[in-house]
Symmetry: C2
Subunit: 228 residues, 2 copies
């Protein structure tokens, strides 16, 4: 049986890592099931010496890094629907993932970090705070006080996503692909950690997020969320 180690909150049922959500959705896309095991910031105990989640253990092999895990699933489970739609689909998806990692998630971080901080156990708070505040360039409390200031930057970051989704149901076209899961992970991070709403209901990104939440019998919609 596959095991997926994923980030858990103070409430162990709250699983908010954007990278882990990429893999949760990718597993469901392939029709696969994994036992999920909660892991907290700063804890030891990940297989194979990994220091970060997600880690997937499949047939005794431990694989870290979300993109590497997705590639493993694509290669090993070719009977399931494709995550990437072939070599070019994969190559183009790498740009979208790079955009999520380097633009989207950093733009959302000031909005989400205050909520995430509440999910970090006291023993790991100092480490979490130091790493996030370095990225933020300010204290998490300062970010929390200036949510309205950060919203326009987050909205601006969404422009290419909004444009791409204006003409298609998913970034993958008629059906979602790993590119959708990579982008969706950022929104599910905000949702599960109890972050603020960032989308207006008439935003094409909102409608897309609704479609993502509906996938796989509401897998993401039914996930435990921390209180706002």
């Amino acid at each position: 049986m596959m095991k997926l180690y994923e980030l858990a909150g103070r409430d162990d049922a709250v699983r908010f890592s954007p990278y882990c959500w990429r893999i949760r959705m990718a597993l469901a896309h392939k029709g696969l099931w994994a036992e999920t095991i909660g892991w907290h910031f700063g804890e030891p105990g990940l297989p194979n010496g990994y220091k970060q989640v997600p880690v997937l253990v499949d047939d005794g092999e431990a694989i870290g890094d979300s993109t590497a895990i997705a590639l493993h699933l694509e290669d090993s489970y070719q009977n399931g629907p494709s995550l990437f739609g072939g070599e070019v689909g994969l190559a183009h998806a790498r740009f979208i993932v790079a955009w999520v990692d380097n633009v989207l998630q950093p733009a959302l971080l000031p909005l989400v970090a205050p909520a995430v901080l509440k999910q970090v156990k006291s023993s790991a708070e100092a480490q979490f705070r130091a790493a996030r505040e370095k990225r933020l360039g300010m204290s998490i409390e300062a970010a929390a006080q200036e949510q309205e200031m950060h919203l326009p930057a987050a909205q601006a970051a969404l422009v290419p996503l909004r444009a791409a989704l204006a003409g298609a149901d998913f970034l993958g076209g008629d059906e979602p692909t790993y590119a959708d899961y990579a982008v969706f992970g950022a929104f599910q991070w905000a949702r599960c950690a109890g972050g603020p709403e960032m989308l207006a209901e008439d935003d094409p990104v909102y409608a897309w997020r609704e479609r993502m939440l509906d996938l796989f019998d509401g897998l993401a919609r039914e996930a435990e969320t921390a209180p706002n």
Copy 2:
């Protein structure tokens, strides 16, 4: 024979439109040749009442809009190498094109607009200036005086491109696709109009641009450029 109407400068041999370069490269990718016809801002005379270039005339049919032209080439010339690598490759490429249109080109505009202005004929200067200054939020002269201020924003916009190209020769993987041509169009716009250099030689984007300039026997490298 195909005809491609494309934007020309005061020197008719200078062809600097980023959208037209997408199609020049896409035609070469498919092994196709078109007669290119220079058109200047504000001129009448485009087929089928189109108001903007590129316009491709193929077998008596006039097609406008660079993405529509690329899709026409992909559908009509299936013997040539694919521009999109299938349905998912195309869907993912739409995000990359949206990023170029909405993020990359606007970030480069303050750097490139002063050079482009010199290529616009006097009769169209007022119209060109009004449209660009609205997008810039400042006069073209102000943009020209603050080139060093705009360079960091342009560099920041390149981050996801740089990350994606760190692990691959092209956005399409081992071979370029239309996604590469869409991004490259922005750099060729800067190059042909005589804009400033934006890339350091140790930047993976620089090495990628060199590869793009080498494609098709140096098609883009040998294009006429305006003086700096």
